[in-house]
């Protein structure tokens, strides 16, 4: 067993950190303030750097790297801008990955390659007004009509919605089947007839990442755009979320690390009662707890990522990593704001943004409660 990063992983960390600090960080606050997605910076540049298809084979335009590299990339982006981190995570784990896992050769050539090279951006449509954690409750329907599927329904809270060109969407193909069995997955392109976008969400955090409603009104797509077998959509969704959890865990880790780094620097500089506040044991104890939780999260994430890359079942590992990392992000960012005191509460320092950004990691791609259900079910099966 070896806890050191490989040379490539370490080069990837340095490269992404340099890019994140020099190019992403300077506009993170203003993009948050203006709730503005900057595609050229937050996606196209990632494509140029080869980050939009990290784990996919070179034949599909990917870099052929491992999941730890992927986690590192999302972590480093999120360390300065959680919105950029989730843009990559949603694209990579939730759209490109299910096409890689379940797509036909033709689908992979046609859809995965431009996603992996960053030419196109991806998103994933699962959640509906009445089906969030309970994916089985999907109400969007897909009905066969000659050579086409006709979709009707609405998807909400879709990360990268509106901006993405390629969507993986879950819809019910069999009304009579048992809850989980009548669902299928589809690849839908922006511009398909009957596919439009609804309202843009106004969010607490990750405000530079677009979150939109997808509306299907007699949306027609070719029959060949079904992803995986008919009726197996629930399996596609669950497998997709297993990978997605590594991305969100890495995002949470990045947020926590970013807030922690700022808190440590501040504590060393800030003088109160004629000494740096870092010299107070009360502050040191807080920093110690923060650092320990961050490191524990990191190890859980890398261990889940290792399993994902090596064909070992990782549902439980990724659920544990996501649960731990997202709760750590919330705790650490809250403490960071506390350490910075009044300054931490202002928008002059990024920790208040990080605290707002952290909250979503406990909610999306499976709430903390769902993660506990997944882990618990795995333990008592």
């Amino acid at each position: 067993m070896n806890f050191e990063l490989t040379e490539e992983q370490s080069l990837i960390r340095n490269m992404v950190r340099e890019f994140a600090e020099e190019e992403v960080a300077p506009t993170a606050a203003i993009r948050d303030e203006e709730e503005r997605f900057d595609r050229a910076l937050m996606f196209d540049k990632l494509g140029e750097l080869g980050l939009t298809g990290i784990v996919f084979p070179e034949e599909y335009g990917g870099a052929g790297a491992d999941y730890i590299s992927y986690a590192i990339a999302v972590e480093e982006l999120s360390r300065v801008c959680a919105s950029t981190g989730v843009t990559l995570s949603a694209h990579h784990s939730l759209c490109a990955n299910p096409i890689f896992l379940f797509g036909t050769e033709e689908q992979k050539q046609h859809y995965l390659t431009p996603l992996a090279t960053g030419e196109k951006m991806g998103a994933f449509g699962l959640t509906e007004p009445s089906a969030g954690s309970d994916a089985g409750g999907t109400k969007t329907t897909a009905v066969e009509d000659g050579d086409e599927w006709i979709l009707n329904g609405t998807k909400i809270f879709i990360t990268n919605g509106g901006e993405a060109e390629t969507y993986v969407v879950l819809a019910r193909t069999d009304k009579n089947a048992e809850k989980h069995h009548g669902i299928s997955a589809f690849i839908i392109e922006k511009g398909s007839p009957g596919f439009s976008f609804g309202k843009k969400e106004k969010k607490m955090g990750i405000r530079s990442s677009p979150t939109m409603e997808l509306v299907f009104e007699n949306c027609r797509i070719p029959k060949s755009n079904m992803l995986g077998e008919e009726g197996h959509g629930f399996k596609v969704a669950m497998k997709t979320l297993d990978g997605g959890r590594i991305g969100i865990a890495a995002q949470a880790l990045g947020i926590a690390q970013g807030a922690f780094d700022i808190a440590v620097d501040y504590a060393k500089e800030r003088q109160q009662f004629n000494m740096a506040i870092a010299r107070f044991q009360g502050v040191q104890f807080q920093l110690a707890d923060m650092a320990t939780q961050i490191e524990a999260s990191r190890l859980l994430i890398y261990s889940a990522a290792y399993k994902a890359s090596n064909g070992i079942s990782y549902s439980n590992a990724s659920a544990m990593a996501k649960l731990m990392a997202s709760e750590t992000a919330m705790k650490v960012t809250t403490q960071a704001v506390q350490i910075l005191g009044g300054y931490g509460y202002t928008r002059d320092f990024p920790v208040e943004r990080m605290m707002r950004d952290a909250k979503i990691t406990e909610i999306y791609e499976g709430t903390s409660e769902i993660q506990r259900i997944v882990i618990g079910a795995g333990l008592t099966r």
Binding site: A29, E269, R270, Q271, Y343, D348, F349
Partner: protein, 306 residues
Amino acid sequence: MKVLLVAECREGKVLGNIYELMGFAEETKSEAVLFLVGNENDLPHFSGKLYLGDVETCKEYNPDTHKQLLLQVFEKEQPDLIVFSHSSYGWDLAPRIANSLKLCQISEVVDLDDDGYIVPACNAKLRRRVKNATEKVVLTLQAGAFNAIEPGEETPETIAIETKQQSQVVFEGYEEAEQGGVDLTKANVIVSAGRGIGKPENVSMIKELAESLGGEYGASRPVVDSEWVEHNRQVGTTGQSVTPKLYVACGISGAIQHLAGMKKSEFIVAINTDKDAPIGEVADVLVVADLKQFVPALTEKIKAVI
């Protein structure tokens, strides 16, 4: 000890840094001889020997030619030290001389004592004491590290030198400094305006001081928010982090957001009416004054000396 001081010439004019080299010679109580590829109508004030290469034929930057001339002078004078400024001319020519003479070169000397020469290391965070292992040494001196002497009225005794050596590097002319776009992170001097300047009309006063020092002007957050100064000149956590050689904070109280962006500057001067303003914690010098009176007075005095 005998030192050979290397003067520089730019666009036909001798540069003032030679007086710092003379200051070094004085401080080390050395006998000095000068070298210059320049112009007989513009020579440094000096009462001693100056070996003069003709800049018309040798050009202002022609390393191989200058090297040959300097080697000739070394041959004749056998100085203990050959001293350059650590300038674009000095750091280019000095290693060529050191290599030809198989001498040790010590770069960017800021001080010396009986145990060796002191040079900066790691972006001036550390100092290194260097001992030479050759008897004679080539030095380049950091600009400003040694006090320049006040030039007198003397004229040196010139000895013309020449060489047939052509340079492999061809000097084709100068390009003037670019104007326009500001990048505060590259500025050597930044003069910043804070809320204490009172009204937008006073920004011009800050600009003038910055110009007189050959630097850029900046501002703290409140001044930018009031749109007295454009945002790309803001210093602090929501603006730029800067580390100039000199930072002058005018009417800036020193909010932590501002301090974070400038406290790593090499030398900090604060001008404030409040002696207890937090900017005083990072300032090397705190001038307690009304900046509307003090800044114009300072600008005038600086213009007089530069």
